[in-house]
Symmetry: C2
């Protein structure tokens, strides 16, 4: 299912091709997030036009709404939302641990109350895989225990053990025809736990491997550390997926660390706040300096928004709360991420990724938050936070 | 500028063609409303695909945001919002009288406070025409005094006199190259005032004539009455525009009463509440009965939404507040209005409008609100409201 086509000589970056029931995917790849059966504000035509090859769905959210009866009656998620290409579904583990109220962790899953109406639900390896089978995703994720940033070593160890046990359970569940299942490695930024978890999960034999427990509130250096601690124990011949990451510069750096697949809500989330990604970094389109700027968000950008609209117009739309504003920023930002991955793949194919990486990072100005985190990573952690 | 191509033998319906600087428009025509330089939730490609030939902009809103400096710098509204076809701008009169706070009506316009930030502004015939010249609309409307439903005969008379005086002032202002200017007839549902106002406005000589003071909260029968009281005094050789109307069935009936042009926020406004128009009437897509209905909103509909999505999926999107839901209902409803007008034009061309009208009205179930209003129109008005 995965062809490793090329490996970069200056880093761990890899060019690959992933085959699924609904089509092949060139990697490294960015997967727009369609949690509730819709990539926020975008329609399928827009997604296809910007080069989307695979999107995400979410087991937890979809099992609550629209619910399995409807997804079953629709003939699966692809048909329900009219998306013709591959779908990867997250297992719901992350949401059970971050969204649900009054959790009770049991041997074979988690009893919890819905974040929506408080109804009592149970999700475990068996339930999650059954839902993902009904959804009919091309890639299903195992049900894991994802502890938050700041969990104690003891808590992280418990999560790792649970994650390993549940992965074994998931491994045995029936799948949709042709459905791939990816294992997930937990372990925080504890090298020993990452290695232990990775070895165990890889030992079970999955179709791909995800690095979980990142994008849970940790500063950037800790995130990179967790990836670096995990990657050496993942087999070269299978795809690696860093869950929930990241900024454009982080994606480039994660590719350099051997990651092939990414998903992130940033492109559409910051769009709704009026922020657009450019090769110079993120810029606020709402800013007064765009008032009479009749250039596109980024010169040379081939997205639907930049081909049609000026910063001045988009700023006006955002200012007066017209939906077209956040729509067009969602288009631009998602296109930016997809184009970034396409550029990375071209540079890998032409063996110039090292140069591409150097130039991209030199031009891209990270946000103050990221810069603060980088500073924080270089000195002992301040216990006051 | 206006060719009257055909007149219906069973009603006052007319087939025509209107020529403007940015293109010709076949009438009867529906004009989607882009108050703040955006037809809510839609992009220009979607508008063009559904057959939009002319949209509305609004003098009051655009003069506040983005403001005239920016529209001037952009080179007008067409370029600012990248809309290649005709634009009609409302004069701002309606908004000054309905939205603005602390109005002070003066001889040459209205002093008022912005609904947005309370700043003191002045809008009159001269200012409105100057703004519409800067906007560069294909059709500008005169600045009128539009009294609310329930105004006393004395108030309506004062509004009519002011409207006539201001129309004469507007008539003398400079225009954008090729810009048409339409007069507006006020007069509530007072036959004598409607006739007096219509004769005066027509006497001034405009490029087209609008029936104003409708869609201001009056019940349907009163609205039809106002149109019927005005239409006989409008010249056959020029376009007639009923402002702010109406439901699909009302549009058919207004065409039959000799109206050529319509604008209405209903298609996009009710979309945001989860309501879709069909040939059977308006239906709530949010309704539980659509939960597992895997048909499109309307069988045979050729809109972008009906070609791709089911009621079950759209209901889900609306239910979980995904923007794609209201987007797709906005697409469907706007397409429905435009297709209705195209069907009307075809029936006029093939001399079957009478049959089309009979069938459409027979199938289209009005909302309870409209039915109540029709009942109310048949008996003396209840003074308690």
């Amino acid at each position: 299912m995965f062809d490793l086509l090329k490996t970069d000589s200056t880093s761990k970056a890899r060019l690959g091709r992933l085959t699924t029931p609904h089509g092949t995917i060139d990697t490294p790849v960015f997967m727009p997030v369609g949690t509730q059966a819709s990539v926020k504000a975008l329609d399928p035509r827009e997604l296809l036009e910007m080069g989307t090859r695979i999107i995400l769905g979410n087991t937890y959210h979809l099992s609550i709404r629209p619910g399995m009866d409807i997804l079953r009656a629709a003939g699966g998620l692809h048909r329900f939302m009219n998306w013709p290409l591959p779908i990867l579904t997250d297992s719901g583990g992350f949401q059970v641990f971050s969204l649900a109220k009054i959790r009770k962790i049991q041997a074979h899953g988690v009893q919890f109350r819905s974040h929506l109406d408080g109804s009592l639900l149970f999700l475990g390896p068996k339930e999650s895989m059954e839902i993902q089978r009904t959804i009919g995703s091309d890639i299903a994720m195992v049900f894991d225990d994802c502890p938050p940033h700041g969990a104690t070593p003891r808590e992280v160890r418990a999560a790792v053990e649970r994650t390993m046990r549940w992965a074994a359970e998931c491994r045995e569940q029936p799948r949709a025809p042709g459905q791939h299942v990816f294992g997930i490695v937990q372990g925080g930024s504890h090298a020993a736990l990452r290695e232990e978890c990775a070895r165990a999960i890889v030992g079970l034999g999955f179709d791909g491997y995800a690095i979980g427990g990142v994008s849970v509130g940790e500063p950037e250096p800790e995130m990179f550390l967790a990836v670096e601690q995990t990657e050496p124990f993942l087999p070269a011949g299978q795809p690696r997926y860093a869950m929930g990451l990241g900024t454009p510069a982080q994606l480039v750096e994660l590719v350099a660390r051997g990651v092939d697949m990414f998903d992130c809500v940033l492109p559409t989330r910051v769009a709704r706040n009026g922020t657009a990604f450019t090769t110079q970094g993120a810029v606020s389109i709402k800013g007064g300096f765009n008032k009479a700027d009749f250039r596109p968000i980024e010169e040379g950008c081939e997205c639907f928004a930049c081909q049609r609209f000026t910063r001045a117009y988009l700023r006006h739309l955002l200012n007066v709360n017209e939906i077209l504003g956040l729509r067009m920023l969602s288009v631009h930002n998602s296109h930016f991420y997809l184009k970034l991955m396409a550029d990375i793949r071209h540079s890998l194919a032409s063996e110039t990724f090292g140069e591409f990486r150097r130039r991209f990072i030199a031009h891209y100005v990270p946000t103050r938050k990221v810069l603060r985190e980088r500073g924080a990573g270089q000195r002992p952690r301040d216990p006051a936070g």
